[in-house]
């Protein structure tokens, strides 16, 4: 009997269907809770889902790569969803065209601030040189950030941690922070969140409507490209001092 249960568990643990079910049910619970609490930012569905899933993985001693392999089907949809961001962007392109120069200006400020603030805070509080290098591209999406870190000699895996923490922090603080600095325009709100908190931030802006998603997608895409250019330049300046 015991070997039967153990055998069954071995089957489930390696089964994509099982981890797919865990991922979908967990997210559904997290999302329903989020809606029921009138979207309390601290109950961000990504944060709640990964907290629950990590707890299950640790409790069952399931290695992360085994889980990721099984949950790939869900992960795969990030690609088509990213492509789909072209739709709100196109629908609101008139508004966007009127704002090109202001958008470019604030993108430059935001992109440089993201890099310099991360590096300066890391350096001030005694992060190792390896960590400092890995902090620099943290406001861009995961694949871009890991590519940059690899090029400047940091640790791509540490960068993936920083990207995740930045996205979650950004999604949690966005509403309170932008209310504090009295931003009431959804386009500005979306753009700032996209530039700062990449895909996790952009996912949060869905609740604010199509305009916010359009500007968040724009901020995310443009900052990805600009950070690729800025990080090597700024890090050379920083290292020479």
């Amino acid at each position: 009997m015991i070997t039967g249960v153990g055998g069954l568990w071995a089957f489930l643990q390696a089964s994509p269907l099982f981890w797919l079910a865990v991922t979908l049910i967990t997210y559904q619970v997290a999302y329903a809770t989020y809606l029921r609490t009138r979207r309390n930012p601290l109950l961000n569905p990504v944060l709640v889902s990964i907290t629950l899933i990590i707890t299950v993985l640790l409790a069952t001693r399931t290695p992360y790569p085994t889980y990721f392999d099984c949950a790939k089907l869900v992960h795969f949809l990030i690609g088509p969803a990213t492509v789909a961001m072209a739709v709100p962007l196109y629908i609101h392109s008139e508004r966007l065209k009127h704002m090109l120069l202001p958008l470019a200006g604030s993108l430059l400020v935001g992109s440089a601030t993201a890099i310099v603030s991360a590096v300066a805070i890391g350096w001030t509080f005694g992060a190792s040189p390896d960590t400092i290098l890995s902090l620099a591209p943290k406001s861009t999406t995961m694949p871009i950030a890991m590519g940059i870190t690899e090029k400047i000699g940091g640790s791509p895996s540490l960068t993936s941690l920083m990207v995740t923490l930045t996205g979650i922090a950004g999604a949690i603080m966005a509403r309170a922070l932008l209310t504090l600095v009295r931003i009431d325009d959804v386009a500005t709100h979306g753009f700032a969140v996209g530039v700062t908190a990449h895909a996790i931030g952009t996912a949060y802006t869905f609740q604010l409507g199509e305009v916010a998603v359009a500007f968040a997608a724009l901020g995310m895409g443009l900052n990805g490209v600009l950070t690729t250019i800025l990080v090597p330049v700024l890090m050379r300046l920083f290292m020479s001092h």
Binding site: V46, A114, G126, S157, H189, G221
Partner: protein
């Protein structure tokens, strides 16, 4: 729905192919986004099915990010060793960046409207 999904996947594939061909430092889906934008601009409208399917995908983008984000658990040791600079950079750096980006955008927008 299926046609729209097929279109999104084809544009992503085109994006990935261009990235590979020209060794671009941006992800394939971002290039796919640009290509779809151009196609919509040429077509001058958004097909209903595409808008609906895109909306469903974007509504649950948070779900799709869960498997990769769970990778956080691989870094608990690093987080334990250097938690202070890592958390301060993640929270403080993010706050400063988001506020400055929003405030400068508002400033540039009102400045242009003023004269």
């Amino acid at each position: 729905m299926v046609l729209a999904l097929a279109a999104l996947v084809v544009f992503q594939l085109a994006g990935e192919t261009i990235v590979r061909l020209f060794a671009l430092p941006v992800p394939g889906p971002v290039v796919g986004l640009v290509l779809l934008y151009v196609a919509l601009a040429v077509h001058r409208s958004v097909p209903d099915g595409l808008r609906a399917t895109g909306n469903v995908l974007l509504q649950h983008l948070m779900l799709f990010l869960v498997p990769a984000t769970t990778g956080l658990m691989m870094h608990f040791r690093r987080l334990g060793d250097e938690w202070l600079p890592i958390l301060l950079a993640a929270v403080g750096g993010t706050a400063v960046t988001m506020a400055l980006t929003a405030v400068t955008l508002r400033l540039f927008l009102t400045k242009r409207r003023a004269p």
